[in-house]
């Protein structure tokens, strides 16, 4: 992509974001002249940019929105909620176009008709009720389109256009041959025809009275097909298939599909033994594969199906769930379009960096070159066997260490972004959710300027949407209930971000109905997550913590906004994936607060490396309390497990080699080397063969199919090129 277009994309996204947040503010205070001017300028610049790069459809759509602002500025027509809504829709469309442009460097073929729709929206709602029959491209595709895609799911992913043609009854008398016409459509992928009206008895059939509905899927754009079908007598609809329909299909990568198929084969094997093992492992692998490509909802569905299979002692539920994944493609995406969640993929692939930071990097690069040249000199000294070599090497190493440290800090600094990037999207999210759920909610955002690593800022949107959804849907009561409870009629939802030492805290706080611990206990028993006895022994904090258990939901009714089975466990897993924690407190009648504590940076981790069974493993230093040797006498067996008594404290002893399935290499008899660690309040001692060293490394989270491997948080490379697995202490201590 050329630089010019890249710049256009960056600027347009910024302008669209600025205009959106400005519009939302204007909705609250429509007479804020300064804000009005600001939004107007943003739209005007956006329009101008689109014109320069010759994206005329976009120019036209933005112009319509700009007009609304002009009218508002001149006092001709106030900025109503409805008008703000139209402007926001227009900006949504612009963002969708920008995504397409980023992929294909051009506006989609449907852009012109999409722009028409936007313009019509502004002209009034009258046009919406009578869409243009020849090129209607509504957001929700017509039932016949979805039916056609479903019926031809093998070719559906390639389909760009759907055609529905009802030839006039007398067309055959006029010499037309509509079926032949359809067969010669360009890039035909699928053809279907059926009776328009029931045929009736064969004796009274008139073969020349056309009674067919013809439908086709093509890989050609709308305009080509319209040209081809021009002059046919009858009703003809040519519809561009929205890209969203394909999202589901295209987001299941081939390797994931292959993995799912392999699990089907495993389940299908005739084998009398190991049923539970096979079901559990097939379920786990399929769920992990889905999670690896970001399909959390599907992953959880598979996990649940596996559980059902295990309970019912039949592979059936899991088999059906897997089969559904591979077949029921297009309809799924249509049935639950979650535009808000999809919008989260706008994670900036390009971002702006302060020129000063770049200068600092250039300076560092220069200094590193100098050190590099100096090493050439060191090599020569080494070849000559110069006795001063160790001293020179040490000196150079120190310089190098200092520079690399600086480099790391500068790069880290560069990745730091304000949370505003994600939080500013919430006024919009809350506006839409509260409208859908018919609740009155005031959103207060504090600490937008708090900074965090780019990776964290980018992953935050999804968990926060879940939390906000829960708060609005289940937390905040209806206006009537609130008044009855003596509360302010409008609920308040607060999102607050702040920095605390090495962590970023984000609180999502509502003043709604709160959560009753008794209901959590009931639900936990009903879902067989815990027994009554276990629940009695739990503290209130532990009880609230159950909300994060997979498959937990106290709401039985599924609403459009929440309760689709993706719940708080998704929030926890997303947060834990980047090394954060989540906790919840609630008071009945007063509200709920969820706190996310996230690391400031995901890049550097202090690690201790240990050896177990001649393999090296990393343990995060933050979890380690101490390392020591304990005499054999301090170790005792309790049932099948070992415990060690250390400083009058009894700790479970985990033999790392044993747990990880590697052969331990150590002399018996004289005690054990242990690493005492703690996470989430759980203490434990890991028995290792040897403690190696302390390192500061960049840990990469697991990728691809390995995502979610239990007990491992990530990997990093050691100096000698070996891969170091970094263990998840919290999970191992559970």
């Amino acid at each position: 992509m050329n630089e010019f277009l890249q710049q256009f994309l960056i600027e347009s996204r910024e302008l669209a974001d600025a205009a959106s947040s400005g519009l939302l503010a204007l909705e609250q205070s429509p007479h804020d002249a300064e804000r009005l001017a600001e939004v107007f300028r943003a739209l005007h610049t956006l329009k101008g940019g689109a014109g320069v790069v010759e994206f005329f459809a976009m120019e036209r759509a933005v112009h319509a929105a700009e007009e609304v602002l002009t009218e508002a500025r001149m006092g001709k027509h106030p900025l109503t909620t409805e008008r703000v809504g139209h402007c926001l829709t227009c900006l949504d469309q612009v963002l969708a176009w920008l995504d397409t442009i980023e992929r294909s460097e051009a506006l989609p073929d449907t852009a012109a008709s999409e722009a028409d729709q936007i313009v019509r929206r502004f002209e009034g709602d009258r046009a919406l009720s009578a869409p243009d029959s020849s090129s209607s491209t509504e957001r929700a595709p017509a039932a016949w389109v979805t039916g056609l895609l479903k019926g031809h799911h093998a070719v559906a992913p390639r389909a760009l256009t759907a055609v529905r043609f009802v030839p006039s009854a007398d067309c055959l008398h006029q010499g037309a041959d509509p079926v032949a016409g359809m067969m010669s459509l360009p890039d035909l992928l699928a053809l279907d025809f059926s009776a328009h009206l029931p045929w009736g008895p064969l004796e009274s059939l008139d073969p020349f009275s056309c009674n067919l509905i013809l439908m086709a899927l093509c890989a050609a754009p709308v305009a080509d097909l319209q040209k081809h079908l021009r002059g046919q007598s009858g009703e003809c609809e040519v519809v561009a298939i929205p890209a969203a329909i394909h999202d589901f299909e295209s987001s299941l990568p081939p390797q994931v599909t292959a993995v799912i198929k392999a699990q089907q084969a495993l389940l299908g094997e005739e084998c009398s033994q190991g049923f539970a093992g096979r079901v559990a492992s097939a379920g786990l692998v399929a769920a992990n594969a889905l999670r690896s490509c970001g399909r959390l909802e599907l992953s959880q569905r598979v996990s649940r199906a596996a559980e059902q299979s295990l309970l019912a002692l039949s592979a059936r539920p899991l088999e059906e769930a897997l089969a559904q994944l591979l077949t029921e493609k297009p309809s799924l995406a249509i049935a639950a379009p979650d535009e808000l969640a999809q919008a989260s993929d706008l994670a900036a692939r390009t971002f702006r960096v302060d020129a000063e930071q770049v200068d600092a990097l250039v300076r560092l690069a220069g200094e590193l070159t100098v050190v590099n040249n100096a090493f050439g000199h060191v090599v020569k000294l080494a070849q000559l066997g110069d006795p001063s070599l160790p001293d020179v090497l040490k000196e150079r190493h120190e310089i190098l260490q200092r520079l690399v440290g600086q480099l790391q800090r500068s790069v880290l600094r560069m990745r730091v972004r304000p949370l505003r990037a994600v939080l500013q999207r919430f006024p919009r999210v809350v506006r839409e959710m509260s409208a859908t759920l018919d609740k009155s909610v005031k959103l207060v955002i504090e600490g937008e300027e708090t900074e965090a690593d780019k990776a964290i800022v980018e992953m935050l949107f999804e968990p926060l949407v879940h939390l906000v959804r829960n708060a609005i849907d289940h937390g905040i009561e209806s206006e009537k209930d609130r008044i009855a409870a003596g509360k302010a009629p409008i609920g308040t939802l607060r999102i607050e971000a702040r920095r605390r030492a090495d962590q970023v805290l984000i609180e999502v706080d509502d003043d709604g109905a709160g959560i009753d611990p008794a209901r959590i206990r009931e639900a936990a028993v009903a879902r067989r997550l815990r027994t009554d006895e276990q629940l009695l022994a739990m503290t209130e904090t532990e009880t609230f913590d159950l909300i994060f258990a997979p498959g937990f939901s106290t709401v039985t009714q599924v609403t459009q906004v929440s309760g689709r089975g993706v719940g708080m466990d998704a929030v926890r897993s997303a947060v834990e994936r980047i090394g954060g924690q989540v906790s919840i407190t609630s008071a009945v009648g007063r509200g709920t607060r969820v706190t996310l504590s996230l690391p400031f940076s995901v890049m550097m981790t202090h690690l201790m490396t240990v050896e177990a069974g001649s393999q090296m493993f990393g343990l995060p230093l933050e979890a380690i309390i101490e390392t020591t040797r304990v005499p054999q006498a301090a170790i005792s067996k309790v049932g099948g497990a070992s415990v060690v008594v250390l400083r009058n404290r009894t700790l479970p002893l985990i033999d790392l080699a044993g747990v990880l399935g590697v052969q331990a290499v150590r002399e018996d008899g004289d005690g054990a080397t242990v690493v005492v660690a703690a996470a989430n309040g759980e203490w434990g001692a890991f028995q290792v063969d040897r403690i190696v060293e302390r390192l500061d490394l960049m840990v990469k989270p697991l990728e691809g199919l390995l995502v979610g491997t239990p007990g491992i948080v990530g990997t990093t490379l050691l100096g000698d090129g070996r891969v170091l697995l970094v263990l998840d202490v919290a999970e191992m201590l559970q």
């Binding site: 041959d177 079926v179 032949a180 067969m183 035909l188 073969p207 067919l212």
Partner: protein, 82 residues
């Protein structure tokens, strides 16, 4: 004439069947309701003929000689319930 009645009672569609073939095909099918239609030597069918095939839904002996019929028409008729 591209619609023929074979010795075994089958109806054969031969070559490219124009719209005019629809009427004789319908008459054949009305005269012999259980007859099989053999379209292995068929190279094309007009929409009117297709309408008769869909409405009467006889047993079809295929596949037809023409690729477009095999790809686009045969599967649709096969899907049509009798």
């Amino acid at each position: 004439m591209t619609v023929q009645s074979a010795a075994n009672g089958d109806i054969k569609l031969i070559g490219a069947c124009p719209g005019e073939d629809a009427e004789p095909l319908l008459q054949h099918l009305l005269a012999a309701p259980g007859a099989t239609v053999d379209w292995r030597d068929c190279h094309g069918v007009h929409t009117a003929v297709i309408q008769v095939l869909i409405a009467a839904r006889p047993t079809l002996l295929g596949p037809p000689a023409d690729a477009r019929l095999r790809n686009w028409v045969e599967p649709v008729i096969a899907r049509t319930p009798r």
